[in-house]
């Protein structure tokens, strides 16, 4: 059953009065309950735009986005969603526990439940020894880890992660990967946007490849490898992107 769905989701960015740039073009995507779904694509391919449209941070030019059959402006839907933005920034004048407490209160968690959840999460992301440290003194990796904890504060059914391993060292990357798999075991649905092909290859059940705002391919890795006669994800990624660029070049006469 699709728990996240987009129907012809389109976003055009206006530049000046007449020019528009495609952010996303008629994207139809469906993420099933309990799976890890990876969104791949080069920079500017529309990955983050897609996530922002799903979460109601941006508004679509046309088409629809649904999470649990609810539109992005539905605040009840957001009660069940956790989001980790790319390169997260938080209130640097707060300590880790204060930040988590603030977010817990926005989810209306009762104080006892919030307290034990905060302890649990700080242990999970190994920040229990930095409880008194203000976030302005955190390293990039620590910020990423507190971000992960913040996205899990409401024990969400759906997790949306935008580049969760950016800035993490190899051990941090491995821990995040293990955490994703653990969350999947708990029945969570995870929508993951990432540049790291190896990470996606290891954890995702299905993937989607975006380029220039278009959804080029979607399916299981094995299925797509067969379809595109690719050896592995890197090969598949390069082939789909190059095929698309060649098609565009032929149509616009760029190659001639």
């Amino acid at each position: 059953m699709a728990i996240i769905e987009t129907k012809d989701l389109t976003k055009h960015y206006r530049i000046g009065k007449k020019k528009t740039v495609i952010g996303l073009e008629k994207v139809n995507l469906s993420v099933n309950q309990g799976e890890i779904f990876g969104i791949l694509g080069p920079n500017g391919s529309g990955k983050t735009t897609c996530l922002k449209l799903l979460l109601g941070i941006l508004f679509p030019t046309s088409g629809q986005a649904y999470i649990m059959e609810k539109t992005p402006d539905d605040i009840n839907m957001k009660q069940h969603v956790g989001f980790l933005p790319e390169n997260p920034y938080y209130y640097d004048y707060l300590t880790g526990p204060e930040l988590l407490q603030f977010y817990a209160s926005l989810y209306s968690l009762d104080s006892q439940k919030a307290k034990s959840r905060i302890e649990q999460l700080l242990e999970l992301v190994e920040l229990q020894n930095a409880k008194r440290l203000h976030l302005r003194h955190y390293s990039k990796g620590m910020l990423e880890r507190i971000g992960l904890a913040a996205s899990l504060i409401n024990d969400p059914e759906i997790l949306i992660f935008d580049e969760p391993t950016t800035g993490l060292d190899p051990i941090g990357c491995r821990d995040t990967r293990n955490l994703l798999l653990k969350l999947k075991e708990q029945g969570k649905t995870i929508l993951l946007s990432s540049h790291f092909l190896s990470e996606v290859e290891r954890v995702c059940d299905r993937i989607a490849i975006f380029h220039r705002g278009y959804l080029l391919a979607t399916g299981t890795l094995d299925g797509l490898n067969k379809q595109y006669q690719a050896q592995n994800l890197e090969d598949l990624f390069v082939k789909t992107i190059c095929n698309f660029d060649n098609q565009v070049a032929t149509m616009t006469g760029e190659g001639s």
Partner: protein, 254 residues
């Protein structure tokens, strides 16, 4: 309502931790300096000067706090991208905007109370306890500051920081001059100038309505009726400003 309060509280906590209230030290220095400077005057004259300087300083530093507090309340959230983590939580955009307004109002209130306590302490030190007229003046200054904050916040939902700051200070200055401008223009025959002034007079809140200190300092009385009417006038403008803020922020992409 609870989420609005939580956002307001977080905005207030930020200002405390980032030591925004240090501006009060400057106020204290000016008022103490003024009391020393006018000590050669007669006791009565000195008291008038202290009141005048203190009212002006409370208004000016309060306005700075209201403008800069409101200016960064929304734009800083967008700039440092903390807004992504807020708007993806179960809160409405209206909770966010109104929460920010309450947060800035709390900052203005605490700043105002501290300056007022200092000012009253000085009056008591000079053996001249404040009368009701002093409190009426302070009450109107407070509502003026809330209005200034509301207008800056509204402008911040659809303009850049630079434009907002210019506009806010422009409105602050023009808002204090509209009455004089209207009086001057009433003597002119030019219909265009008259029309423009009328428009400006209607659109721009008349901050001079909140200024009763010139009367109070020279010992004149201002009725509660006038104070009540002016407060209502301020609340009406705040409501309009918040409506504008909500309208633009609901449509804003981040």
């Amino acid at each position: 309502m609870k989420k609005m309060w939580l956002i307001g509280l977080n905005t207030f906590r930020e200002s405390i931790r980032k030591k925004m209230l240090y501006i009060i030290l400057i106020f204290a220095l000016i008022v103490i300096g003024a009391s020393k400077l006018f000590s050669f005057l007669t006791a009565e004259e000195e008291l008038k000067m202290i009141k005048d300087v203190s009212f002006s300083a409370i208004e000016f530093f309060g306005a700075l706090m209201a403008i800069f507090g409101s200016l960064y309340a929304i734009s800083a959230e967008i700039e440092r991208r903390t807004i992504y983590t807020l708007l993806t939580k179960p809160i409405r955009r209206s909770d966010f905007v109104l929460g920010k307004f309450f947060g800035v109002s709390m900052i203005v209130l605490v700043n105002f109370i501290l300056m007022t306590v200092f000012f009253i302490g000085l009056l008591l030190f000079k053996k001249s306890p404040p009368d009701l007229q002093v409190f009426k003046t302070l009450l109107l200054i407070f509502f003026e500051l809330i209005l200034i904050g509301g207008i800056t916040l509204a402008l911040g939902t659809f303009t850049s920081d630079a434009f907002n700051i210019i506009c806010s200070f422009f409105l602050y200055i023009v808002g204090h001059l509209t009455s004089y401008g209207k009086e001057l223009v009433e003597r002119t025959e030019n219909i265009i100038v008259r029309g423009l002034t009328d428009m400006l007079y209607t659109l721009v809140p008349n901050y001079e309505n909140f200024n009763i200190r010139d009367k109070i300092v020279v010992g004149l009385n201002v009725s509660w009726g006038y104070v009540g009417y002016t407060i209502l006038y301020g609340i009406l403008y705040v409501c309009i400003a918040l409506y504008v803020a909500l309208y633009f922020f609901e449509k804003r992409e981040i």
